[in-house]
Structures are given as C-alpha cells and as structure tokens.
C-alpha cells in the first residue's frame, strides 16, 4: 500500500514525464496501426482516417488514460474512508469506546507534554532568544555570601564583566524579589524585577504602552521610575494610560510607572510572572560585594560560540574576582573566591523555578501516561482482533471476489487511522483542560504557576506522532491478521474452531503478557512514589508542626532608630504572647523547613567546619516542643551584655565534640560582614531536628539568644503555637497588633501547610502515579477479561466435548486458569524486571526507601495477580457452566 501511495505521489510530481511517455506510446500505437493498414493496401491518408475512426484522436485517448489514473487513486482512497465511516457507524459502541479511550490517552499525554514544552522546551518571547547566553561561576559560588533566588553573581562582579568583556554584543543583568507597594494597612506584595538600564533594549522588548526603562534610569537609590507587566497593569492599575501619570509607593518610596510591557513578556523566570520592573539603583553606602543577587546575560556576537565565550570569560575571571573580593573573610574563602571561573551557558529559555528532579518527575509522568496509552491501545487491538474474527467471513468473501489483500489491509487501516485521528482531535481538546488541571495540582496557596500552555508546532507534532504510533500499535497487527483469512476456509460456514486459530490466540496472548508487564511496572512505580510521599509526610522532624503559625512582622516604616529594633521586636513578641488563645510564641531568625539556610564557619578546639546558626528567643524550644537533653535552654538573663551562649544539636556534638562533655565547651565563629568573630559557650544540647527541608539529613546546628544577634534588622519572625485554627490565630494577632502599630507589615503562614507546599512535586507524583497505576491495573483487567471471554466462547465446543467425555467442572476451570497463570507469570516477571530498571532512574526522587524495595515489588505483583484472577473468574465460570448438550447441538 505504501509503495502504491509512493508511486501515486511520484506520478503527481513527475506528471509531465509520465504524460510525455504516454504521449510517445500512444503515438507509436497509432503509427503502427497506420503502417499495418498501409500494408493491406490503403494509402497513408486512408489508413490515418481509418485509424482515427477506430480509436479516436490521440488527445482523446490520452485524456481517458490520464483521467483513469487519477480517478483510480483518489477514488480508492475516498472509498476506503467512506467505507471505514460506514463500518464504524455500524458499531457505534465500539467506535465511541475506541475514540474515548484514545482521546483520553492522547489527551493525558499531550497535557503533560504541553507542560514540559512550556517549562523546558520553549524559547523566551523576546527577539532572537537563541543568541542569549548566561554568565555564571562554573560550579557555583560554594554557598558563600548571601544568595538570592536566581542570583548567580554580585553586582560589583556584573559591573566588572560588563566593562571588560569582548564576547557579547550587549549584556544585561536582572534580579527578582518580592517587595511591597503602598503604606501601612494598604501594603501589598508584588513580584519585583530589578534590571540593568539596557535590559529591555537588549532583549528587544517593545513597550505595550508608554516607554521601557533605559540606561539613564539607573541612578542613586531610591528608584523613581518603573515599568509594569501587562497583567499587573490590568489587574492592579486599572489599565490606565501611563501618560496620565501612574504613581505608586514602592518600598516606601514614590515611583512613577512609565510604561507597560507586552502581554507575552513575563520576565526571565519561566512559570513566574513579574509585576513591576525597576532599574538597579546605587545605594548611598555602596554596593555589597557578598550578595549574590543578579543573573547576568548577554547576546553573543555573531560567530561566537558558547565555548569561545567561556574561554574568553575564563581569561577575564582572575581580574574580575581580584577586583571584587568581599571584605572580612578568612583567607581560605578569599582564595577560593579569587579562583572562581566564569563561563557562558545557554539562556534562550530563560531560567526556571523547577529543579532537575522536577524535570525528571515530569519526564517520568510522560513515560507513565505513555505506558497507559499503550495499555489502552492493547485493549483496542484486542477489540479489533475480535471484530476481525467476526468479519472474517466478509473478508474472505471479498477476497474471493477478487479484492487484493493489500486493499483489505488498507481498508482496515483506514478504520484505524480514522479512529486515531478522531482520538487525536478529542485528545487536543481534552489536553487544554487537563493541562490546566495539572497546573492546579502543582499550585499552592501562594504560588500558582503561570505558563503559556498554548499549542505550538511541538505540541501538535507530538500529538500527530502519538496518534500515528497508536494507530500502528492497535490497528496494524489486527489488520494483517484479519486479511490473512483464507477464502475457502472461512467460507465454510460455521467453522467454530476447537483449538484452531492458534495465530489469533497467540497474538492475544502476547497482548495479555504485554499488558500485565506494563501494569506491574506502573503499579510498582506508583507504590514507590506513594510510599515515598508517605514517608515524607509521616517523617518526624523532631519538632512540633501542627498548630504553629509563622508571622513575619516588618517595622521599617515605623521610623525607629536602629538601637530600638531589638527592643521593639521583644515588645511585639510580648504583644503576640498576650493574644488570647496563643499558648506560646518565640522569635527566630530562621524558620525551619522553609528551604532557607544560614551558616557560619566555626572552630571548636582544633576542629574546623561549618554550622547552621539561628538566633531565637527563650521560648523557642518550648514553642516548637524541642526538649533540652543536657544543660539548659535560653532565659531572659541571656542579654546583649552577658556572656555569649549557644545551644547545639547532637549532630554538632558528634561532628565537633565527640567523646567530650559538650556543655561548657566553646565555639568560635569566623568573621563575616556584620557578624564579627564571636566566642560562644555551649550551655545546652537538643536532639536532632530537620533544618531546611524534610529530605536533607540534619546538619550541625547552633542556636543563640535573639538578644545577642549581631545583625538585627527592622523585622522579626515569630513562631506562634496555639490550639486554635490557624486562621483564627492569624486574625486575632493581626487585629491586636494592627490596632496598636498600624505601620507594622504583617504576613502569616501556617507552618504545617508551608511544609506540605514544599512537597508539591512529591504529592503530584504520588497522586498521578497512583491514579495511573490503578488505571493500568483496571485496563489490564479489562484486557484479560476480554481475551479470556473470547477464548472461552471460541472453545465452547471443545469444552462441551471434554465435558461430554467426562471432564468435571474443576478440570474445565483448570483449563481456563492454566491459560491465564502462565501468561500472568510471564507478564509479572517481565514487568518486575522493567520496573526495577525504570526505578533506578527515579531513585533520586524517592525518600526513605530504596528503588529496589522488595516489599513494593512483591505488593505490586500480588495486587496485579489478584486483579487478573478476578478478571478471569467470570469467563472461567461461564466455561464451567457450559452445557455439553447445548454446546454440541449448536453446531
């Protein structure tokens, strides 16, 4: 059939040559005819006339032949399609089931692919994104200094690079952070994008309204001009024309919005839209050299590759880092800093909030839905095979009447193609709904990922190839099989095979084995993810999670002198503690399990290393229900003026003080800006608690009294413990503090919820893989049920004869179960092997169990075996109930 289509297409393109050949042939034909006539004595004139009378003119002949050639091709294709539509309409249930199955399968795959496409494969909506490259430190900055999200370099480093580089035709830098607009109770969050002055020009982003920021907008702090994103402009600024003057209070300073970016520009972070873009400003006391806050990008000059740019940047690096050494570091850190090397990385797709393991999860999900689609296809192939059996007579008849075999195959394939095409159309429609649902699954209270989920050529070609593949999987084998019917055999009426038709059966057995194998794989995967998620959720972090509310209190608008900050923090804490229903409350510089981290280099005796540091108020350990296992906690006697004291965890003791009584020992921190070298006396020990995330092993942690915190800012984080619902606590605290201190910015989170939000990807994987695992088991059960029922019906005579000859019901039951058991065993074995291999790839995503966890694999196999046996119970019972007389008489 393909060859035929090929020659048809070839003849379409080579039409002229074909015509010329035909022309020559027909002319030769007529010439020969004339010659023949002349041989019989006619004159040339007479012969020509006679020939023309007999055969018509040259042109007419060619016309007939040409028309027949094209009609044949178009006609048969059209016939196939029309016939396919007719046949499918004759069996509406089959058709609807098939289209729905395919539609759902293709839809689910497309939805996940769309998400992958949006986060990973799509270029930024800017001018020539493929020219963009990012400049980063090869291997990262080893955690030194203060690190902001997407911050690769410090601003002094950015300026050095900008002034000395050769590889880029233009460079720009940006950073993101959440800040506030408005004052007092009017205050609201916004997603800020800070940019170098040439950011919009280099990216080629044209204003939707007004103007974009330009280099001269970069100046001394505070900023005075900003640009709004399209969505923020519509949502918060009422879509007013910037020319009329839009004035906001941003971070306590007046800012004029001078322009609006186009609707498709969301900034540089895929999945996260910015609200207001502001230019970099020069703080009065100079730029900090230890805040890694900016991401630096540029457009490569024509002819420059990433490698060449990296080489150039590497040459530049010693000078750049020599000129920007952060102050007050120990020699080792300074030396490490001076040896950093810059390199260029592709940046056409912007940066992404998803981690590598999130991508792995998404690809795995795509694999899982792909396998589910395969299962669905296997079931359809099954149905088609059965249909093929019932249509064998029709096929045989048509073959006897002269239809070529490829013509029958082509017609069966047209039915498959038609189903696949309908499924694909339905799939695309479903995908747009499903992908939005998927986004909702990923969203948390304060983060709804925003992706452009429109269809692009990548998604469409994905759908196309998936549909084609499914068509091949479910339609080709049955088509080949059905068209093989031998006319004479099939025409013999009522041939109800005994154990004949080995071929059909063996194909169906193959399908069962495949289905079982795939289902076991999916079930095992699902169990792994569900159990891993459960391990995370039920993990005891060593502290209280339930009933804790995290409050962020900011008082930078209260115009307090710096010396009052610490006292004001204490006053606020006392206010919070006095709120009815609040059982306990404490301040902390680091909220545990929120992903953040703060550490210092330390020396304990002769040992050196790093430890996390948190400054807390005396009630912290009681609030978080962390016991003191030795020594004491903090009290109000630990003052700014008194001896510096610390409480450390057991990991700290094991790492630095093993074999010594830790209480009474001292630890020395290494100096950093704002954190002078300090000697702490260890006064207490706490058990290990999780630090920044549930997944990570506990690091050495040291706690110190809040009163002794050297870098107090005009803000405070308070952990509140209460038996009341979080919302009640929040509104009570907000009410009480708001009445007394209207200038204080307040934000609240539920601690437990925040921890759960950190497990979004794990939750999604557990939910979806669990869902698809069960779906897979169900599909396999349907498949097994279908095949066995069919086999039982086909073998009814045989069973009848066996029973007539004395076989009892048990042996009949055995007959059916033996069939299944072998297939099941084979499928499970293959499935376990495949699942073991696949799980290795997902090992990094798992928590608290190994990828080859035996219990999981046993459970998955057992579950599937139970489901499969249930599925074959009904057909087996039907076989048992065969009445030998009826079965035999039926002939």
């Amino acid at each position: 059939m393909l060859r035929n289509v090929g020659s048809g297409l070839r003849s379409l393109f080579r039409n002229q040559q074909v015509d010329r050949e035909l022309d020559e042939e027909v002319r030769a034909y007529l010439e020969i005819a004339v010659e023949e006539k002349m041989k019989h004595g006619m004159s040339r004139e007479e012969a020509l006339r006679a020939v023309r009378l007999e055969h018509g003119s040259l042109d007419v002949t060619k016309e007939i032949v040409g028309a027949a050639r094209w009609e044949a091709l178009v006609e048969t294709l059209w016939q196939d399609l029309r016939f396919a539509v007719r046949t499918l309409r004759k069996t509406p249930v089959f058709t609807i089931v098939a289209i729905l199955t395919l539609g759902l399968g293709i839809g689910a795959n497309t939805a996940i692919f769309q998400l992958l496409d949006a986060v990973r494969l799509r270029n930024l909506p800017v001018l020539n994104p493929q020219q963009l490259a990012a400049v980063r430190i090869a291997g990262g900055n080893q955690g030194m200094g203060i690190n902001q999200d997407y911050g690769d370099l410090t601003r002094p480093v950015w300026q050095e690079i900008r002034d000395h580089q050769q590889a880029f035709s233009g460079m720009f830098a940006w950073s993101v952070a959440q800040r506030y607009t408005g004052r007092g109770s009017e205050m609201r969050h916004f997603n800020g994008l800070w940019v170098s002055g040439n950011f919009f020009r280099e990216l080629g982003v044209r204003p939707f309204r007004g103007r974009m920021l330009v280099p001269k907008d970069e100046g001394p702090c505070p900023n005075s001009y900003g640009v709004a994103s399209y969505s923020y402009w519509l949502r918060e600024l009422g879509g007013r024309d910037p020319a009329e003057g839009i004035h906001l209070i941003v971070n306590n300073d007046p800012v004029q919005i001078v322009g609006v970016t186009p609707p498709d520009f969301f900034g540089m972070v895929v999945g996260d839209s910015f609200d207001i873009a502001l230019p970099f400003c020069q703080p009065p006391d100079g730029l900090r050299r230890d805040i890694f806050e900016v991401s630096v990008m540029g457009r490569l000059k024509p002819g420059w590759t990433l490698d060449r740019a990296s080489a150039e940047l590497a040459g530049l690096s010693p000078g750049v880092f020599e000129a920007t050494v952060p102050p007050d570091r120990d020699t080792a850190t300074t030396e490490m800093y001076k040896h950093f090397r810059l390199a260029a990385y592709p940046a056409s797709r912007g940066v992404n909030q998803l981690s590598e393991s999130d991508y792995t999860s998404l690809w795995l999900l795509l694999g899982i839905t792909g396998l589910v689609l395969m299962l669905a296809c296997a079931n359809l192939a099954n149905l088609l095979l059965v249909r093929g059996r019932t249509r064998e007579r029709e096929m045989a008849l048509r073959q006897a009447l002269g239809a070529a075999r490829w013509r029958l195959i082509r017609q069966l394939l047209s039915e498959g193609a038609l189903l696949a095409a309908a499924g694909a159309v339905l799939g695309i429609a479903l995908a747009s709904v499903l992908s939005r649902g998927l986004l909702l699954l990923f969203s948390t209270d304060n983060n709804l990922p925003q992706f452009d989920l429109s269809l692009d050529w990548r998604v469409l070609s994905f759908v196309g190839s998936v549909a084609m593949l499914t068509c091949i999987v479910f339609a080709v084998a049955p088509a080949l099989r059905s068209s093989r019917a031998h006319p004479s055999d099939a025409l013999k009426s009522g041939s109800r095979g005994t154990t004949a038709d080995h071929e059909t059966f063996s194909l169906q057995r193959l399908i069962i084995v495949t289905q079982v194998a795939i289902s076991v794989t999916l079930l095992a995967g699902a169990l792994l993810f569900v159990r891993s998620f459960r391990n995370l959720v039920t993990l005891n972090p060593g502290m209280r999670e339930r009933g804790i509310t995290v409050a962020f209190l900011g008082y930078w608008q209260s115009n307090l002198p710096r010396e009052r900050w610490a006292d004001f923090q204490r006053e606020l804490l006392e206010e919070v503690q006095a709120v009815p229903g609040v059982q306990n409350a404490a301040t902390t510089t680091r909220v545990p399990l929120d992903g953040g981290s703060w550490e210092h280099g330390i020396r304990v005796g002769s040992a050196e290393g790093t430890s996390k540091f948190t400054w807390v108020s005396p009630d912290y350990f009681a609030t978080m229900s962390i016991p003191i296992v030795a020594g004491r906690g903090f009290t109000n006697d630990d003052r700014t003026s008194s001896q510096r004291v610390a409480v450390v965890n057991q990991t700290f003791v094991r790492r630095f003080l093993s074999g010594i009584d830790p209480v009474g020992q001292t630890l020395l921190t290494i100096a950093e800006p704002n954190y002078p070298a300090t000697r702490y006396q260890i006064v207490g020990i706490i058990p290990d608690t999780r630090y920044s995330s549930l997944r990570d092993e506990t690091p050495p942690i040291a706690f110190a009294p809040a009163t002794q915190f050297p870098a107090q800012g005009p803000w405070s984080q308070v952990l509140i413990y209460s038996g009341l619902p979080a919302a009640t606590v929040m509104s009570a605290v907000k009410h009480r503090l708001g009445a007394k201190h209207p200038d204080v910015v307040m934000e609240f989170h539920d601690f437990q919820k925040q921890i759960m939000d950190g497990l979004v990807m794990e939750r999604v994987m557990a939910t979806l893989s669990g869902f698809f695992g069960l779906l897979a088991a169900m599909l396999a059960a349907i498949g097994i049920y279908g095949v066995l029922s069919y086999i039982v019906v086909m073998r009814r005579n045989e069973i009848g004869i066996r029973m007539a000859l004395g076989a009892n019901r048990v042996s009949v039951l055995n007959l059916v179960f033996r069939q299944t058991a072998l297939l099941l065993a084979l499928g499970v074995a293959i499935g376990v092997v495949v699942a073991l291999a696949a799980a290795q790839g997902a090992a990094s995503l798992l928590f608290g169990l190994r990828a080859n966890d035996p219990l999981t694999f046993v459970a998955a196999s057992a579950l599937l075996i139970v489901v499969a046996l249930l599925a074959c119970y009904l057909p087996a019972r039907r076989a048992m109930q065969v009445d030998p007389m009826v079965a035999l008489r039926y002939e």
Binding site: E25, V26, A28, Y29, E35, H55, T61, I64, V65, G402
Partner: protein, 111 residues
C-alpha cells in the same frame, strides 16, 4: 448485428490482456490486433480502454514494460507478464471456467 464488435463482459479485459501477454511480450497495438484475431473479430478494443487496463495491471505488479524496437524499427513499449501476473492468470482462468460452466448449466437448465 453480427459484424458489429460486442462489448466485453465487465472486468474481463484485464484477464484477456494477461492471456495475450502469456504467449510473448507485446506492444499495445499488437495486443489489440491479437485480441481481435483470437476472438475472430468479436472484441475490438479501444486504445483508451487498453491503456487504462495496461496501467492498472502495471500498478498491480502483474505486468512490466520496457521500450524496444519493433520489427519495422520503430520504438514501442513492450509489455511482459510478471511471475505474479502469470499466477493471477492461472487462478482467474480457473475461476472463469467454473463460473462459465455454472452459468451455462443454469442457462441450459432454464431453457
């Protein structure tokens, strides 16, 4: 009526062309003449239908063609039966025989 050529029974042209070519490779006109001779003038094939038939058979892989010189050293396309074509001719001949026998029996019985 007797001297007017009759129409072919539908679908038999292909079989007749195959039969003609079973003897030796031939060009288009040769096939027409041979068919006319063999049917003693009963069948006269129009050039248009002939070429449509030839193309159909060639597409189905039952015959193949090549350009050769005729006895009068004129260039013409010669058609040859393929292995597949030969098989098809056999099966169609057998089938035809059965059908004709059956039809004849029916016609004789009813007369």
């Amino acid at each position: 009526m007797a001297d007017k050529p009759s129409d072919l029974v539908q679908g038999t042209l292909d079989m007749l062309i195959l039969k003609t070519l079973a003897l030796e490779p031939m060009h288009g006109y040769g096939i027409t003449v041979r068919l006319e001779q063999m049917s003693k003038g009963t069948f006269r094939i129009n050039a248009g239908s002939l070429f449509v038939g030839l193309q159909r058979l060639q597409r189905a892989g039952l015959i193949k063609s090549e350009w050769k010189a005729t006895e009068n050293s004129r260039r013409a396309k010669y058609y040859t039966l393929t292995q597949q074509g030969r098989k098809r001719l056999d099966s169609e001949t057998r089938e035809w025989g059965k059908q004709v026998a059956a039809i004849t029996r029916i016609l004789e019985a009813s007369s």
